[in-house]
Assembly symmetry: C2
Homo-oligomer: 331 residues x 2
């Protein structure tokens, strides 16, 4: 942490690490609270080629959510989307296990076309974010392919096969982030983390195994987070030992880890400086050896999202100030 | 023509050469009249890659028309199609000059995927025709790419740029069928033309320059039509010196050719044994040195299509029988 820079009076500069739906809720809160001061580094380990199209589920969830175009009821895809393409594809005998709405499809077709034309995923994402009027910067963790692969007793499953087709039913033995060793952190992500004005890094309440670990698997990412010398805080995706949505608790159980704040802190050990946990997990606080902020973390409304975003930023700023005082006292 | 085979009592075996909308109307009539005895060889010179997808406009028009899925009012695309994809694509800044309906898109995505997987256009088309319950065999003229290119005073235009984007406004100086010299007639087309049971070949009332000439440009096609030794008849796309739809008459004028039956017969000279012309062009008959059948060729209803199909087949059978008698008399 930087002990010398005075607290800024303007919006704190934040980098958020984020997966899909759950993480995007907090990313939206951060964007509404702090606008262009926010960069969201998004998991692309779920990306896959489907029907010959490059699909980036988490990027799209963040784009649709921050762009005011997400389907809030369904929890994925575009608001008000229609399904004529899927019906016609079914009629042609095509693969229909992964649903692509008619509007959503434009994103995949146009992204695929631009990627083939040599435009990077980072650049394509920036252009779409601009068109959607998003103030925050949305950054794929890498422009190279990383494939989150779920190792089950019956063998390896690509992420979407596990998550969508098999509905997270197979037992998770291990996760592999194939290609990660060859992936390069994008220049834009590196720049966001090296920004001397950066105030904090917030790990959104995304699935640590499926959504955050792929980001951390990009070579240099962990080192860059540490080198940033700002507080790194994680928002627990657990509420009362359960995930709000998705298989976090189930996977923790399958990996032999208790689904609680301590296990989560251990998972992120050496990387995080503080944790935000839900009020229902208040009892976990005593068992944690890092600073904890207890707050309502369930985000039902936009106000909930913005409130939690402010709580996270305030908590991180406190940690920074404490650290500055401690370093000052040590002189 | 085969003089020895007796006239069959079952449905005549027919091969039709066909472009898009106008030709597909007669192809539908032929299919309703003679079912599985009909093979339709379809122009693929209009095929192009758009948004990274392989689009085959004439193949699709024939599939949708014979499969009962064509939009009869609009004249192209799928019945009842919707435009959410196009709206979303516009929002992303994508190319929107070529309209792709949400249902129609499934065809292009699935075809592109299958072609990349090594499945031929012929095989893909056969599978779709089967799924659409089409009795006739629909055959792309070739599995290799032929690109109809319109040479205008301002330079070369790919077919769809000329036809859709420029709405056929540029003056046509010349047409090129790029890649034709390297294209191979598909085995299925060759087999249909070599079928010893074949009774006649019917050139549908498609644009001779834009839709039929690309088929004839495939190496070996003209020779195969002649080698079939059955009557080849062409249905004039002109009615009273005008095309029902499309730029046939305009192109003929630009190429310095009068838009009449004689010019059309001259265009197909050496290839055709007879011509079906509309009642409104009855006066042209005297100027033609090949057998002529005068009939109402405007196809408004399904009954019109079936009636014209029967007229064509009957005319071709007459020519065959006359030829047989002539050969018999010459012995």
């Amino acid at each position: 942490m930087s002990a010398t820079r005075p607290a800024s009076s303007c919006a704190p500069r934040l980098v958020a690490l984020c997966g899909g739906v759950g993480g995007a809720k907090l990313a939206l809160g951060l964007e509404r609270a702090y606008g262009g001061a926010v960069s969201v580094v998004v998991n692309t380990g779920d990306d896959f080629e489907h029907l010959g199209l490059h699909v980036s589920p988490d990027i799209d969830t963040v784009l649709y959510t921050l762009g005011g175009r997400s389907d809030l009821e369904r929890g994925w895809g575009r608001a008000g989307d229609t399904w004529q393409f899927m019906k016609a594809l079914h009629e042609l005998g095509g693969e229909t296990w992964f649903q692509l709405g008619d509007r959503d499809l434009a994103m995949h077709v146009e992204r695929t076309r631009q990627l083939r034309a040599g435009i990077s995923l980072t650049e394509f994402t920036r252009n779409v974010a601009e068109r959607f009027g998003i103030a925050a910067t949305i950054l794929p963790m890498s422009d190279e392919r990383v494939e989150t692969t779920v190792i089950t007793p019956a063998g390896a499953l690509s992420f979407q096969r596990y998550f969508v087709e098999k509905q997270c039913i197979p037992v998770v033995r291990r996760l592999e982030f194939r290609g990660a060793e060859r992936a390069r952190m994008s220049d834009a992500v590196a720049a966001a983390l090296r920004n001397p004005g950066l105030d904090a890094i917030i790990v959104c309440p995304s699935n640590p195994y499926l959504s955050i670990d792929p980001i951390l698997a990009v070579p240099g990412m962990r080192a860059a987070l540490k080198a940033a010398e700002v507080p790194v805080i994680v928002v627990s995706p657990l509420i009362g030992g359960q995930a709000v949505k998705g298989p976090t608790a189930k996977i923790m159980a399958e990996l032999g880890v208790p689904a609680d704040s301590r296990a989560l802190a251990a998972h992120y050990a050496g990387l995080i400086d503080g944790m935000v946990i839900d009020e229902s997990d208040r009892a976990d606080a005593a068992a944690l050896d890092i600073p904890v902020c207890v707050a309502p973390t369930l985000m039902r409304t936009l106000e909930d999202r913005v409130r939690l975003a402010r709580t996270c930023a305030d908590f991180a700023m406190q940690l920074r100030d404490q650290s500055a005082r401690a370093e000052g006292a040590g002189r």
